[in-house]
Subunit: 215 residues, 4 copies
């Protein structure tokens, strides 16, 4: 029996909910294909978030790790292509830390590419009528930090697990308090994550279709 | 027993669905407060759409008429404040007509303001966690045409019915085929319309809160 | 000798400059075709702005009146199609007034359409490489207030003068203090206004081209 | 005497000009501080663009290399933080090539960070009233390709030259043909590049200020 480790984040930036955890928690112990999902909530804290994640990977040895986070302002689910080795916090994290231009791993590579099949996951979600896109940047906040930490951990362990990161729009209840912010219903996000996980489990080689950006 | 006339549109512009009708049709014969909803689909056709609407108003003498249409690219439900006496079609309608700068009613007033309580409807939707906003323009396509035709008809009949127009975002399945387009789940749109109708039925005097735009 | 009355606004909303006045003031006493421009600055104040404008029209009896204002966030020069008979202030004006849903003219028409050739002005600017568009809403702040007041005044006077309103983007120096705000250089705005004035003076019948919005 | 190598691109994607080259060519042989600028135009072609660039670096041994490219849709000058080791072309380049998910350098690092002082350059431009921002992604088209190739080349040569990449908005004449596209006048871009080059030459250690993105 394979394990899928699925993580969401606690709220940050003054929000009372984080769509990632609101949806991810519904997946705990769900069976997808021949795998079982373990859902965990990460703190929105530089350093601590990756320590928690590494501990979970150590304990569960998942075949697939998908971290999910909130990207307020985006309109679709975005599957991140790459994480970069830098922390640059526009706002303080939940412990008040605000690192600026600090490497995540002192001698780590400049970036890690996701090892999940990004294009196939985006295409499968779109085919199912769920807005999705490839993203070329996971930012420089705790989401990018966790994605980099995750891929670094899996690269170090070397047992062949795949890792990736998906950003979600705001929930409607969050957008209702903001002017003109796009949002996505929790049910739509959940349907998208289910497809993304399923696709990641079933797809060995990613699709050869463009998902690039001109700039 | 009061009647609420609720209209949606058929698809246009190459789309296969129109979120307005997908949601509005669910309301047919629904009881809201002491009123019953009659849901009808309007053609996306200049002229004909208003003729159909006028026929429905004649037959049902509704206390409230709410027309609903698709506003691709908007992120929330928008309650229109005003309709203007002009047709200016960026694309042809479903009969191939493309009027440019033609008045809707030859000697009609330059504009009609909605007679539903726009601010109260927006506020009630937001309070329920549904993204909503006041809109200062219904455009110059068939939606504005129907809103103007509706308010002109009610003004002519003079029996005290209220009229308004709500624009909806794309459905997720429509946005999935477009780059970065915001969308709203049918369930969220439906919840919003229910609240909007209920608020319109219950609110005599609109709220004295700002819903304006700087430009 | 014809007179063109060109107005800009004083700064508002915490800004230190208003692009409309920064550019408009350069036009004072400029000769365009067979007309001479008189440039004046209006206060960003409900009521007072229109009183000043009416006084200027009385004194100068211009053949053309073009009011110009700032529309922060827009990317091109926008020629307004219509003004509506409502004040709804999202922020206080420069005297601290913040009217909500108050008619501009108690028994005035619901709206006035611009009497300048909107489409021709937009097309001429675009042909000259200046980003421009038809706008379907001048908002509900002092800009719409002045546009409505202007067109009401000209309609009352009835001597055949034409009136219109153009919104400008931020200047680069304003956008430099904001995240991702579009802007336009003062030289570009000035080139656009020159063309717009020239086109308004030379064009009797507007172009029959679409400048509408779907929503 | 130091040399600054400044590159722009030829037009691509159906455009007739590329703002990067329109502005960069004005800098040829200009003296900035104690350095002289050499301005060159690169083809918008995967592979060939980097070969040309490498040849220029070999010949001129510049102390600073700044590549400039067009980012249609952005509102300000964006100084790129990082380039990633992937080509993923949404449209064909000027030779018809459209690589998908191909590494730029087969065994190269996953990414290179700019070695110019990104934050200081952005801040100096903003202080001078020019819209500018730090960008977390240079895309996956020929711009990112050249930025990666540039930083790889300088890293291999190891003589201490610094390299960076700046994206420019459309010129007004390009945006005039598009709906609602932001643009920047050539003079504003030129003023920004002058400041950016000057700042890069004068700043050893970058500013410790946030320029990050939440997502």
């Amino acid at each position: 029996m394979n394990t899928v480790l699925l993580t969401g984040f606690e709220p940050f930036g003054g929000e009372r909910v984080n769509p990632s955890w609101e949806v991810v928690k519904q997946f705990h112990e769900r069976r997808i294909d021949d795998a079982t999902v373990i859902a965990c909530r990460l703190p929105c804290v530089y350093g601590r978030s990756v320590q928690v994640l590494n501990g979970l990977i150590d304990r569960h040895r998942p075949a697939l790790v998908l971290a999910v986070g909130q990207a307020g302002g985006r309109a679709g689910l975005s599957v991140e292509r790459v994480s970069i080795n830098i922390d640059d916090a526009r706002i303080a994290d939940n412990l008040g830390q605000q690192p600026i231009d600090v490497p995540i791993v002192a001698d780590g590579p400049a970036a890690y590419f996701a090892t999940v099949p990004v294009k196939a996951m985006v295409q499968a979600m779109r085919d199912a009528g769920i807005p999705a896109e490839v993203s070329q940047s996971a930012g420089t906040y705790v989401c990018n930090h966790v994605m980099y930490g995750l891929l670094h951990c899996l690269a170090q362990l070397g047992y062949g697990a795949r890792g990736g990161f998906i950003h979600t729009p705001y929930l409607p209840q969050q957008a209702a308090a903001l002017p003109n912010a796009p949002s996505m219903a929790a049910d739509t996000i959940a349907a998208g994550l289910d497809i993304a996980i399923r696709t990641a489990l079933q797809t060995e080689h990613d699709l050869n279709i463009s998902g690039g950006a001109l700039s």
